[in-house]
Symmetry: C2
Subunit: 361 residues, 2 copies
């Protein structure tokens, strides 16, 4: 292994397979379709594994990601208000080949997408984005959601497919979480009832995030969930209580390059390798978890240096030693790398392209 370059992101095949299997089983048990968010891995190979396990389609954030994933799936949700002419035109083109849904929260976006379909001759499915508490995107009231749905119904080139929400604000202890999820459920129910009373139905009600994934059955209105991070997991999930270190499939292998400062070593992974993302449920836990030295803390990241406080470690990492770091937030971390290394037991690691990296639009 010492002959492989560092920093390198290793992906553990068996852990990925188990993470995918477990989520698929949960979905099957609760009659929830899984539509994995591919932002986490940006990989056709992993998307194929998710589809083979029963995923009903894929989720993306970007047109560029949709174009890459359209090679492996015929049903893609762009969970993003793609309203500029370049994205709208690209999505309209894609909708000639596969089923595409876009989640939007404005008449402006509906009109932009509809206009694009008129040029290329296709139909785009629309999910009305409802804010269920995160305060990022999404219409604020059931009444607004009804009005936008009615607009979609009367606009040529777009098709009303349902509702999307993102409960990204739901974290923390399960008791509090179930309270929050029941408020999400109430808002969805109220919206669906209002739609129904006006003759509109939502074929898709899309929700879910990795931290809330396994409680999605508490929101009975959902027909599908869109977990992304679950495929790899990270320290946000571990320290939030939603995964274990053993369920983390992605580890950055780093080399110790300096030990000149007492009580510290420096690894060859800074914020250009691990990102500057802090661990949201444990801000002071540092910039990732060092597997071989659990008492170490990555206290600071420069661009290419990671400073690791080893003052509480019983033994010291040596110069030239390779150590494994589980990142705080795996999604933007994968996004930094053109390739990752796929690891199977008793086999040499195999380099694998991050297919949709660099697709910024």
């Amino acid at each position: 292994m010492k002959t492989l370059p560092t920093p390198r992101l290793e992906i553990d095949g068996p852990i990925v397979r188990e993470n995918i299997r477990r989520m698929a089983e949960y979905g099957a048990t609760h009659n929830l379709s899984i539509r994995p968010h591919t932002k986490t891995h940006k990989s056709q190979r992993i998307a194929r594994m998710q589809l083979a396990a029963g995923a009903g389609g894929l989720t993306v954030a970007k047109l560029g990601e949709a174009e890459v994933m359209a090679e492996v799936s015929v049903d893609i949700l762009v969970a993003y208000p793609a309203l500029d002419p370049i994205r709208a035109t690209g999505i309209a083109n894609l909708a000639k080949r596969i089923t595409v849904h876009v989640a939007v929260d404005s008449r402006y976006a509906v009109d932009a997408l509809a206009a694009a379909t008129q040029t290329v001759g296709s139909t785009i499915g629309i999910l009305v984005d409802i804010d269920v508490g995160m305060g990022r995107t999404g219409l604020q009231t059931p009444r607004q959601a009804l009005e936008l749905a009615q607009n979609v119904e009367t606009t040529k080139g777009v098709r009303l497919d349902g509702i999307m929400c993102y409960p990204g604000h739901v974290w923390g202890d399960p008791d509090k979480q179930s309270d929050q999820l029941s408020r999400v459920s109430d808002k969805l129910a109220e919206t669906l009832a209002l739609w129904h009373s006006h003759g509109l139905e939502a074929g898709i009600v899309s929700g879910g995030s990795t931290p809330t994934a396994y409680q999605s059955h508490l929101i009975s209105e959902l027909t599908e969930i869109r977990p992304g991070t679950y495929v790899f997991n990270d320290m946000n999930e571990v320290r939030g209580g939603y995964a274990t270190v053993e369920e983390c499939a992605a580890r950055m292998v780093c080399t110790v390059v300096s030990n000149a400062v007492p009580g510290q070593v420096v690894i060859d992974a800074g914020n250009k390798t691990l990102t500057s993302d802090r661990c949201l449920p444990a801000l002071e836990s540092g910039y990732g978890y060092v597997v071989e030295y659990p008492d170490a803390t990555i206290t600071a990241l420069s661009e290419e240096h990671g400073q690791v406080d080893i003052s509480r470690c019983r033994r010291s990492p040596q110069l030239g030693e390779q150590i494994h770091v589980i990142p705080n937030h795996i999604c933007p971390c994968v996004n930094l790398h053109d390739t990752v290394w796929w690891v199977e037991p008793d086999r040499e690691p195999e380099q694998m392209r991050v297919d949709a990296r660099g697709r910024v639009v």
Copy 2:
């Protein structure tokens, strides 16, 4: 302009030229060689502009960056303890074609580089890295620096070229800064005197960071400085008092994609576009500066969403509008993009490759 994709990173040609000119003039005035750190731009084109303005060579952090920059410069400093076999061998190979210096702080690194030269038949220049207060890498005492220099002198394949330091801890008001810089100067002077008394000389004494660049003459021991960020500048420099908004050459052009949440708009730039880097001299200032709406604050970044608080703005950004954001930390931001857009007055923006992006080793 509306037909260009967003998010896109625009580089203002005239501002880049003026930033380069001013730093070159400062170096010439104080007889300091400028060795720009190319980590900021990772671009051969911009490196050529810096060399044309009189830079004596280039600085890189990575072997991969050195390989890219070796096509435009014959004198490169790897300001990084590159001690693993892959980097050492790559550097030894490069040293057959051009002059390469490596900054190291351990006997281990000297031995690794020397061993690599023996296989390929080259000589690598060594700068002894001295910690002048940042506590990241670098030997702690003049005595340790002497011992490592003596090791270099007696090791085949490596050549003692001098000393490197990085005063990255020096920030804040100029009075405090000049005190700190005089302590840096004292440590360098002490080390040089000790070397001299043992018959060793430092041909190169390399220092500098962008925040301290224009005070480098206060450290009379320096022969060169390695500013990187100055070529573009960013909000760290602006809010630290080292640059103005008008001197910021790199701006992310973003589209407003949602205004569904009152008092807020969402732009299509999250942490996969702007990074999660906060503004070090003003942690609560948000994730970048919105040029057209100076009263706006980018309060949160998801991966592809930037939430912008517009409650203090007199007018509201409209859906579909393109706005310009100056990032907090431009170096890791450039690193996210395969291409940037070069902007000259009265010309269409031109797409330009970030040549050394993705060179992780």
